[in-house]
Subunit: 637 residues, 2 copies
């Protein structure tokens, strides 16, 4: 079998992924973030994994010293695995020998902790610890093994000849899982899905169908109440309704996304159209009723969970970074299976407005939750201090539960994989960034393209063909759903294209240029009236970017006279406009009465007509880069 260096490589489906070596992001918005990720974030993560003892736990295990001295939560092993996965993709991307050295050293420490029968977990199974598999609801043992498998998948696909043995470590752990949880074994599932997509991908890498069978078993078992009922209900871990009967994602948002991704994998490999159709329905209903404007999901802080339909409060948006990573995983698998552009639309929304938001510009501090309305400036974590809190107005270097930083890192390191795909007939561009693409179609025809663009700030995407084609093929370009009025320019002739995909079919010649012009003029966006929490508000978007009002800009624009973002209203009669690259809106000062009781007759509302200011908005992914501030995406109109 061939090893395509990409996170998801189905054996069938509508589209075929390209390898990291076939797509290089050469500049712009994402190249900068990939560079920061590789040069700053990965080292930052390893520093904290060492500092907090989460890698050290493996050393203690190897030395037989556990449970004494073990540090971190029950799932801390998984952060080490996600770090290894990120490093493996980064090695695949850049070939950095220093990273290769780091990878081998950490992988060796992990390997040394594995028990003879393949079991690998620093939290369970030893005298003084909980028994193996005794805490499926909260123990995260299978979840951790899932991330180990994903790290091994990344390693196997980027360095197939490596002799570090991580793939063998993963194989022994996966084999044990198949024995313990296979037919006749423990008839249950992990409280946190992740083993499901991991086993399928490991089957794809190894060609061993047992892993796929086990993943299918886990997917089928879920939703049948084998896990204990808990305060949040079994929906928390999706153990309330069988996957093929569910109509919408619910419960813990990361768990829900990982499970859905794994279920798509199973459906695709098994040709299970019924299951796949159920997942498509779940995707659509979740997007239509349970998703924030940013693409983020999860309205509950309490259980990091989806709320009911239409419960999307901006000020209590949880929108965990990892939930967007999970959403991207789910959407990407459906995109490969079905090919529809709306999956890539949602991926873009999450990449631009959540993944890119989570990391600071320096790549060494992160948002775990991504609120859409910050009411108090908050205080930064003391320099170098771990934050116990998932939500804050200030990015933190590390968290007690630190799933998000390595999840962002592995996503950014493998980002090129999400740019384009191929099918028998041609190549599909899904995400727009300056890029060099060199691949061959299944027919054997070589394709070479360069993409030139200032996207997302600029709306022109120029695709320059670098190789003569022996026969016609189809170049497919995604036209985002927001891009009403988009135009396609081929050989100087221009045509209007509608949201979905724009196709150009021909025997391309080297030097051919195809241009897609997307209208990235800023625009007002309203919400479905059933989203009660933003009734009477408008947001401003520009291309795929969600914008926001940050207090620092309000203070400056009002010459210090207004510092309270709840003391202004948007003038909806003045369209947002681009002024020297910044999007400016007109706000009206609207001082509220200070009343002892904040409820009263309808006529008690203040008149509201006050002085106006033209205030620049900033892209949401850039907020909170200028110190603690208040912020809102949805502006009262």
């Amino acid at each position: 079998m061939t090893l395509i260096a990409s996170p998801v490589v189905p054996t069938r489906g509508r589209l075929r992924p390209l390898a990291l070596g076939e797509v290089t992001i050469t500049g712009g918005f994402w190249a900068e973030r990939q560079h920061v990720n590789g040069t700053a974030t990965l080292a930052h993560i390893e520093h904290w994994l060492e500092r907090e003892g989460w890698i050290g736990n493996f050393d203690l295990a190897a030395a037989g010293e556990l449970p004494d001295g073990r540090r971190g939560r029950e799932f801390s092993d998984s952060e080490v695995y996600k770090y290894l996965e990120a490093v493996a993709w980064e090695i695949g991307r850049t070939g950095d020998p220093a990273l290769e050295d780091r990878f081998r050293k950490v992988a060796a420490r992990v390997a040394a902790a594995q028990e003879p029968d393949g079991y690998l977990n620093t939290k369970f199974g030893r005298p003084g610890q909980g028994e193996r598999w005794s805490a499926l609801e909260w123990g995260h043992e299978l979840y951790c093994i899932g991330h180990l498998l994903q790290a091994a998948v990344a390693r196997a696909r980027t360095r197939p000849d490596a002799d570090d043995g991580l793939v063998e470590v993963a194989r022994r752990a996966a084999d044990l899982v198949c024995v313990v949880f296979g037919p006749g074994g423990i008839e249950s599932v992990c409280g946190h899905a992740e083993i499901e997509p991991a086993l399928v991908e490991f089957a794809r890498v190894t060609g061993d169908e047992r892993y796929l069978d086990q993943a299918a078993l886990f997917v089928e078992r879920r939703g049948r109440g084998t896990l204990r009922d808990i305060e949040f209900g079994r929906s928390y871990y999706q153990d309330d309704v069988p996957v093929r009967d569910a109509t919408v994602l619910r419960g813990h948002a990361v768990r829900a996304g990982y499970l859905a991704a794994g279920a798509v994998d199973v459906a695709v490999e098994r040709g299970d159209e019924e299951l796949l159709a159920a997942l498509v329905t779940q995707w659509h209903n979740t997007v239509a009723r349970r998703t924030y404007l940013t693409g983020g999901v999860g309205s509950h802080h309490q259980d990091e969970a989806f709320g009911d339909d239409w419960v999307l409060p901006p000020d209590r948006a949880y929108s965990e970074t990892c939930a967007s990573v999970a959403s991207i995983m789910f959407s990407w698998r459906l995109l490969l299976a079905r090919g529809s552009a709306h999956y890539a639309d949602l991926i873009e929304r999450n990449l631009v407005n959540v993944v890119a938001t989570s990391s600071s510009a320096e790549g060494t501090a992160f948002f775990y939750a991504n609120t859409l309305h910050q009411r108090t400036p908050g205080t930064p974590a003391a320099a170098g201090e771990l934050s116990p809190r998932a939500s804050s107005s200030v990015r933190a270097p590390w968290f007690e539960v630190s799933c998000c930083p390595p999840n962002v890192a592995r996503t950014l390191a493998s980002l090129a994989a999400y740019v384009a795909t191929v099918d028998d007939d041609g190549l599909q561009l899904h995400q727009y960034a300056p890029a060099a693409i060199r691949t061959t179609l299944p027919s054997g025809m070589a394709i070479a393209l360069d993409v030139e663009t200032g996207y997302p700030r600029d709306g022109v995407i120029r695709v320059r063909v670098r190789e003569d084609a022996a026969a016609p093929w189809t170049l497919s370009l995604r036209v985002p759903a927001w891009a009403e009025g988009a135009r396609l320019v081929v050989d100087g002739s221009e045509e209007a294209v509608t949201p979905g995909t724009a196709l150009v079919r021909r025997a391309f010649r080297a030097g051919d240029v195809v241009e897609l012009h997307l209208p990235v003029t800023p625009r007002f966006t309203a919400a479905d009236p059933r989203i009660d929490a933003v009734r009477g508000c408008l947001a401003v978007e520009r291309g795929p970017e969600v914008l926001c009002l940050e207090s620092v800009d309000l203070v400056a624009a009002s010459a210090g006279r207004v510092d309270d973002i709840s003391g202004v209203r948007l003038d909806p009669a003045v369209a947002p406009r681009d002024v020297d690259g910044a999007v400016v809106v007109r706000l009206r000062r609207s001082p509220a009465h200070s009343r002892p009781w904040p409820y009263g007759g309808p006529d008690a509302e203040p008149a509201g007509a006050g002085e106006t200011f033209d205030v620049p908005l900033v892209p949401y992914h850039d907020w909170a880069e200028r110190g603690p501030s208040t912020m809102r995406v949805w502006l009262p109109a």
Copy 2:
């Protein structure tokens, strides 16, 4: 010293409480609830305390069998104490000999578990358990002792000659607390405030100042970071800012309210005007910015906590029943200290719209959280099953954390205490219910009044004097803040009165009648525009009652054509009107587009003009009595 049978008996302050024996609620809204509480709820609670083993834990402790077999959470002892407190007040109210027997039996089982040095807790201190006082953040040891003291206070004040020994049990526990946490002892506080008001009240009962000193120490220590930082921050247990420096309540709402109540007690007994002023400020800011229309508090499910200013989402309102009990405790103490009617206003709002909402009509099922917008009908707990969940659309008979039912029970049993007070010059009526009041002023003058009213449904409160007065005295009647247009009728002459207090001073004669006419016509209520979550909505109130739209009424009024409460809008041009005792509003059907992505251009909002229905609303305290339903208090206009 005299023992006034009332929960709070300060030695100084503006107003003096009356004893349960001096005020009898004789009929109407609250008498019915007191009756259900005494005849059904108390037995229901004891049944569940036995069934769940929470009383049995004391038996195990006495038999030396703990920790094996202990059941319930770390604070389960406190539910037994709150039950005892409720029973003690009920005995004081009715003299029921069967309850007296129940009280003695349970009190004896509690007493048998006390250790020789006074320590009393079934969760800590034995081999195999956590050490005493080793878990101040979450252990609730002092919290439990606080509730033990409150039970003893109720017992001492209602049956001062009882020989069951509960007061002595409490005294030994309180003495131990003073030794362990007094000067030179452990310099910290309990993660859940409650010991503070309890110690002050115990000092008031016993006359022993040591308990007051200890309470003052606890109040002063709070806010200085002696407890560990946690995910929610130290504000969770108010250990972030010293009480006298704080400007608003924050963190866990029940903890915040109990602490504030105890701090008022300390301030009053110590004559500490600076501390009292700080608490008055906290009360005002909390009421003005962090309180739901119902009077409920707590916007976060995650940490059962206050949110930032203006964060009051109706659909994620936590508004824990116990937080309203705590709010009543805080307000009542400020009312006694300061005398201002707005404290009684907030008490009424909480009593009518939260306390009365929590219990089912039968008194055997309860809301723990009190949402203002229920989006899904939900499913009832299986009959007789404990609910692991605090929030649901259906009242549950019992919870894993079951603080609310006994808190409601003790409040209802002692409710008469909140109806009226006296001062040197006369009597103040704070809450309106049919009642008989027989007391003497500090001067020795006897006062006898009967209150006749159909309040809150009817706005006429008739006070009939039953005793000739030897000298003039002042009858003070609260005019609620919403009661614009109220009128006072004395001897057939009528005058307009404004919100606050209406005073009638004279040498009353038996047979004199004073009537207060409060305008209880239904009215629209709007919210401060900074409460983003209800922008563009109106609520409907009638007198002190908040009303709501329940789906069952929408279905009936639309002849089954509309069952989705998010598919209608209020017609604000048609005032709510009283039709045969029901409040009816006009709703307009407003079907929303079903779009794949719920955000788009502002013109994409549906036109909304559809057929109209006149639909009756129900008092919020009556909702969810007709099976699972959806509901909303705030109606889009």
